[in-house]
Symmetry: C2
Subunit: 272 residues, 2 copies
Amino acid sequence: MEKVRRVERMVALTKLLVDSPQELIPLNYFCDFFGIAKSTLSEDLACVKDSLQHFSLGTLETVAGASGGVRFIPYRSGERANAVLKEVQRRLEEPDRIIPGGFLYMSDILYDWHIASRLGEIIMSRFADTEPDYIMTVETKGIPLAVMVARAFNKPLVIARRDSKVTEGSSISINYVTGSSRRIQTMSLTKRAVPPQSKVLLIDDFMKAGGTANGMRELVNEMGGVVVGIGVLVATASPKPKLVDDYKALLVLNNVDEVIKQIDVEPVYDKV
Amino acid sequence: MEKVRRVERMVALTKLLVDSPQELIPLNYFCDFFGIAKSTLSEDLACVKDSLQHFSLGTLETVAGASGGVRFIPYRSGERANAVLKEVQRRLEEPDRIIPGGFLYMSDILYDWHIASRLGEIIMSRFADTEPDYIMTVETKGIPLAVMVARAFNKPLVIARRDSKVTEGSSISINYVTGSSRRIQTMSLTKRAVPPQSKVLLIDDFMKAGGTANGMRELVNEMGGVVVGIGVLVATASPKPKLVDDYKALLVLNNVDEVIKQIDVEPVYDKV
């Protein structure tokens, strides 16, 4: 490969690292890609790391040894996280989101990959210490958010189904009672999805009484896994207590007033 | 903000652009963020663009005028696309994927955000000329892929449901016949999701007879939209013709032999 200027190499290096969050990339990969020595690469990586940290855009982590390499760790906390939450609050409080019955239309926000990817990074930052092996959700509306959490953690996604499909192979099903409407529902997961002893982080878009999260936990337990955290985008303020108490919500829905068309949503901000 | 070296600024600039594919970011945003003049920024952007193109990592597009700005356009075509498809082929041909009935277990690949994001870029590159306003899929397994296609296009995602949920507001439902099993199914979409005259790109993970894609098209037509393309990850070689003929598959499933446990998958490569 022809010689390129250092600054051009740094641009490409940044792109490749940022594109694969949390993925450990061997140093040799970059040495070969750019045709440079390891010492040169180390200088380049130090500079990329400084720059990312300087602008609060994430950091790099280097792992020494034969199976080592370098990985990009995105983070979105403090003021950058709070600005995202404030924007989501503003959109959730738009009066025409109210659906008869006091529900909120949220799909346009949930299916906006741009917001979802930022929310995924916030959830990753808040659950980083739980070190999950799998990110799990139940179909359907929470999937895009869970995809982005899985991306930020660089861990596989697991999706529980409301029915069991023949194309998934043998599966485990549980019945659970939804906390709010007291209906019995079924949730199933293919047996291949979660190996025993796995640490699983549960993700959902909305929590009212916590019945769905409770059902997901039961399913994980059935498979011999352990739930290490429950992250939801929006949780309602009431009922309280919920069927699960160890969850973290990014926003709390205090009230929906159908008569005066007013929605009261409160972000759970990072301390700054 | 304190003065930073140019190379550090370029790293941060690259990160911010790459993080928001296809999003038009005003030049002023970067001038303010880095505290630099527009002329300096223009030089920086030219260098980022050169570097991305040099390494085939994408490009930048600058739009002049008051509402102008700069956007990062990811692409993955030619050899870089073909390497991804070859890897997916290798994984799909692992013998233990066969599920009784001749189905293939694909969820681990579909729910691997790393592969999904690369496949999303390939689909975007192949459908770039269709200029869709919306990316649409039907629940459940195709959603992560569709999220990544939406990300590569920077367009909103629309997810059709197999039932109609009260939390989505008023919706349109259609009945359709699945092409392979000849069963009648229901598919529904909230009325807010697709405005009339919208150009919609359909995405699905698997196509056998094309009944589901045909149902999605009918749903889009009901809402006054237009389907501009159909992209699927894997299509079976038979039956042929299918209920839709204007689809593009990334891989073709020629045969699943349950007896000798052999799977024959063929990538549809880019010309290089």
